[in-house]
Symmetry: C2
Subunit: 125 residues, 2 copies
């Protein structure tokens, strides 16, 4: 039996394969730390959030948490994704919780500071 709730790391998606590879690399430490977590895309790439939910629901999973790999919540996370979630809940008889985007956690700001200061230290003077 799969672990519930199923954890979906939601990325925006792009037709550019390199975009998806960056998100897969970004998600790798999380996927190793969280059993059963998967990456899914809002649009333009596979697996889509709908594919992941439909497949897990068919396998008996009733509860999902969507964790957006977004730096901030704009129209997608305030309107499009909640609408997609409502549709999937109705279609599959499941419960899906939408968590805040990872960028709303202050820890991301500290990591960005470290990345930026490292990048600047590597620049030629």
């Amino acid at each position: 039996m799969a672990t519930e709730p199923k954890i979906i790391l939601l990325a925006h998606g792009s037709s550019d394969r390199r975009w998806c590879e960056t998100f897969e690399a970004l998600a790798e430490p999380t996927l190793k730390a969280v059993p059963g977590a998967v990456v899914a895309y809002m649009e333009l790439a596979e697996p889509s959030m709908e594919q992941v939910v439909a497949e897990a629901a068919a396998g008996g999973c009733r509860s999902f948490t969507v964790l957006p790999l977004f730096l901030a919540a704009g129209r997608h996370l305030r309107k499009d994704v909640p609408a997609m979630i409502a549709d999937m809940e109705a279609a599959h008889g499941v419960e899906i919780e939408l968590a805040p985007p990872v960028g709303e956690n202050p820890e991301l700001g500290l990591a960005i500071r470290d990345v930026v200061t490292q990048a600047l230290a590597r620049q030629p003077a």
Copy 2:
């Protein structure tokens, strides 16, 4: 005399003020750590990257580094922003280096893992 190169933390931008507030909060530790760094937006919010470059160039700054607060490089960072940079270099006689997006640094993946595992630990069982 301002520090050179001037550091621009580039966010996407949105007409939703809450989006910009999230980026301002995300950038705050970096702004404290990097003298003279500023946040600017690619589109839909102010200050725009063009405004920041034009103003600093008028004040005598000739060298800029743009550090994208993006998780990955898609069309915006591969096409739109380089085109904007080329236009600004020509218009203002300045040099602008475009750094990789912060999300391409593996440290961001570790921070995302920590944020996600914290978020899941807070959920009711």
